[in-house]
Symmetry: C2
Subunit: 152 residues, 2 copies
DNA sequence: CTCCGTTTTGAGACATGTTGCAACAAGCGG
DNA sequence: CCGCTTGTTGCAACATGTCTCAAAACGGAG
């Protein structure tokens, strides 16, 4: 049997968060939330539209993008940027992390907060700057690709 | 009187670099190079098209973007990404640096290589990863905006 | 100077978002 | 259940790039 406890279901949590701010719970938002709970890893806006259209072919891009903005304001999703600079949404990550991306082989890795501490600490100390870790993508050459490049 | 010495003029340097690779020196590329030498700071592709059109209204976007790619391959320009993820080109920077961007007030700062060393070193040591510093943009809240946020 | 192979350009279609605005509808109060 | 208020949607236009392909032209050879 289902319980209506406050925060078990992410969809219900989103609904409550919206209503708490005087915003509305619409079928379009509900549909996107359902897509998001089934997503994992990093997903672009275009991919989310695609998936939402499988549920409802009437799905409109502008509504999806606007909803993603709202959800980001509520802290329910976050985004970083892929190689092309395109936004990639990150849904309910297990832990906050930054991203590492090899420009050559296009592989990516996640950097946990502890590993990123050296950098965030330095910027906090010297500049009082609070780094948005989830938004951060560090690109460059991974160990393997670096070796290949040296060989040339 | 003008000298044809190898590398004084950035435009000539670009021309030589292109020819050395069997690529061609065209009026379109020359025009963009002339725009670039007069640019400073960070400039988006759209802005460069705009400026190129002041010289030659026939300027075509696809040609500009392709030329920027070529120049980046040659190491003559580099890009990072602004708040919206849009590419921002950096022309012949005095020194290689990363970027710091406040999400609230939209101010930006440059981080010199020495200051970024803490991070690049850590990633090199733990992962053998070579960070592309010029491409890096760290976003978050600057000291001032952090204070304002706390006050709320 | 002319010819030719290869690179480059420009046009147009396409991809991915963003924005203004009028119509719509969620949710509240009566 | 009904009507309002106000947040939301969908459309269309716009912004910024990317990609394909035929036509143009750079630059070296003859
Ligand atoms: Mn980039
Ligand atoms: Mn972003
Ligand atoms: Zn790699
Ligand atoms: Zn700020």
């Amino acid at each position: 049997m289902k319980r209506k406890s406050a925060a078990v279901d992410p969809v219900a949590r989103a609904r409550d968060a919206l209503r708490a701010r005087g915003m509305r719970w619409t079928p379009q938002r509900r549909a996107l939330l359902e897509v998001l709970v089934e997503a994992s890893g990093h997903v672009t806006g275009a991919e989310l539209i695609e998936r939402a259209r499988q549920r409802d072919p009437e799905t409109t891009p502008s509504t999806v993008y606007r909803t993603l903005d709202v959800l980001e304001d509520l802290g329910l999703v976050s985004h970083s940027h892929g190689h092309d600079g395109r936004e990639e949404f990150h849904v309910w990550p297990a832990s906050e992390h930054a991203h590492l991306a090899c420009e050559a082989c296009r592989a990516t890795w996640e950097i946990e907060a502890t590993e990123a501490l050296a950098m965030t600490e330095a910027l906090a100390r010297t500049r009082g700057f609070a780094v948005n870790l989830s938004h951060l993508t560090v690109s460059g050459l991974c160990a393997d690709c670096r070796r290949s490049a040296d060989a040339v």
